[in-house]
């Protein structure tokens, strides 16, 4: 891949998904796009690039998906789920005692491990949540990934990373080397395709937003824009959860970190003027990556 091809792809991924690749990520592009080229019946990345440059929106959308799909596992990092069980839910049980509903959004739901981990947490707390309505919405840029999430079928490797063996026995059904999460847990999670660069105000407001390990790929302006819009989709006393390597500090004052609870943020009530990136900057592109 020559330098101008690399520049073309960098700009394309930035405009479509906010993915901000530094100049040295050629190997990443190659490792993701070569399998895609093969899947499309093409012999090389060059052939795939030709299709993309020729304006094939299908190939462009698939390339964006291939680049933004992340590795994930059940109860990833553990601490956020401990905070969810020990801090967020107990606080919300008090704060929402009137309406008895809790809305949770996994903004980078990926292949389902995170939303299903949250669903399992809620199931394990069902005695305290009796009479409550809980909702988990999982969104992702990638339709392929959402389909995998909906199916809830995982390999032996996937179910062994982060999932305690007791929970595997309790909530999964074995089918040969594959394990499918029970229908009851699957039914607790709604799925929807969504690009975080686009307007998401129609989703309503949430009590908890998990948005982990997705904004790390975005450039600074995009991060700020998304944070400011996430603040508007979160209840004033809600919780935002970011990945272990992420922060809002130095980017925006609409969220503040919770002392001693790494990755956990609360809204400050500050409001920033915001418009979705995609709607303002690239109305044509939005039609490709969007729903």
């Amino acid at each position: 891949m020559n330098a101008s091809d690399y520049e073309y792809l960098r700009k394309l991924f930035r405009d479509h998904s906010g993915l901000d690749l530094s100049a040295d990520k050629q190997y990443l592009i190659e490792s993701r796009l070569l399998p895609l080229a093969r899947k499309c019946g093409l012999s090389s990345i060059d052939d795939l690039l030709q299709k993309m440059k020729g304006g094939s929106s299908r190939h462009i959308a698939q390339a964006v998906e291939a680049m933004t799909t992340n590795e994930t596992f059940f109860f990833r990092d553990k601490a956020p789920f401990d905070h969810f069980r020990d801090t967020m839910i107990p606080e919300l049980l008090k704060a929402r005692a009137g309406r008895k509903t809790i809305r949770i959004w996994c903004a980078a739901g990926s292949t389902g491990q995170e939303p299903y981990s949250l669903a399992i947490c809620l199931k394990e707390m069902s005695a305290q949540l009796a009479g409550w309505r809980t909702e988990i919405l999982a969104t992702d840029l990638s339709q392929d990934v959402l389909e995998k999430s909906k199916a809830g079928i995982y390999s032996q490797f996937e179910v062994q990373r982060g999932l305690p063996i007791q929970l595997l026995l309790k909530y999964f059904k074995q089918n040969g080397e594959l394990w499918q999460i029970n229908a009851e847990i699957r039914a607790m999670v709604q799925h929807r395709q969504l690009n975080l660069l686009h307007d998401f105000s129609q989703l309503g407001t949430f009590d908890v937003i998990f948005c982990r390990n997705v904004l790390i790929y975005f450039d600074q302006d995009t991060k700020i824009n998304v944070f400011n819009r996430l603040a508007r989709s979160l209840e004033g006393d809600g919780f935002l959860v970011l990945g272990a390597a992420e922060t809002v500090v130095g980017l925006t004052d609409v969220f503040k970190p919770c002392a001693e609870k790494r990755g956990l943020y609360r809204p400050t009530g500050a409001r920033a003027a915001v418009a979705p990136m995609a709607a303002a900057a690239m109305p044509r592109m939005a039609a490709i990556g969007g729903r």
Binding site: G162, P164, I165, Q166, E177
Partner: protein
């Protein structure tokens, strides 16, 4: 790789598997996680090792000649101090029936082979043997 630091308690892991190749792979991974390794090729040898000194952890195969992993675990849990080691099965037996029997016999976690460092680290983290699940 770093060994245990001065002042740090030495933590031992007994690796029980009849395959010397598997023991070697497990040893390399667990040494990177700062465990001192003892090896045993069957359940009987493993039980002898535990009678001499209780390890912090046991990584345990199921199918072995002389005494299998399940029988070893039943004996171990009846030894004085035998309730202390964290026992993680590591076996090709990957069905619900075997997993249930392992847990009933007193296993703390269960790994279905094949395994890698990420899985061992995740499971050892799960039972509180190491602080972080992933090296990076």
């Amino acid at each position: 790789m770093d060994g245990p630091r001065i002042g740090e308690q030495v933590r031992t892991c007994l690796v029980v598997d009849d395959s010397s190749v598997v023991r070697k792979i497990a040893r390399r991974i667990l040494e990177e996680l700062n465990f001192q390794i003892i090896e045993a090729e069957n359940g009987e040898r493993a039980l002898d090792a535990c009678r001499r000194a209780m390890p912090t952890a046991v990584l345990l195969d199921w199918n072995m000649p002389v005494m299998d992993g399940h029988e070893f675990l039943l004996h171990l849990r009846r030894l004085p101090g035998g309730d202390l080691p964290k026992v993680v099965f590591c076996t090709t037996e990957n069905n619900v029936d075997h997993i249930s029997r392992a847990l009933e016999a007193g296993a703390d976690e269960y790994i279905m082979k094949p395994f890698d460092k990420a899985i061992i680290a995740a499971k050892f983290h799960e039972v509180g043997l190491i602080a972080a699940a992933m090296p990076a």
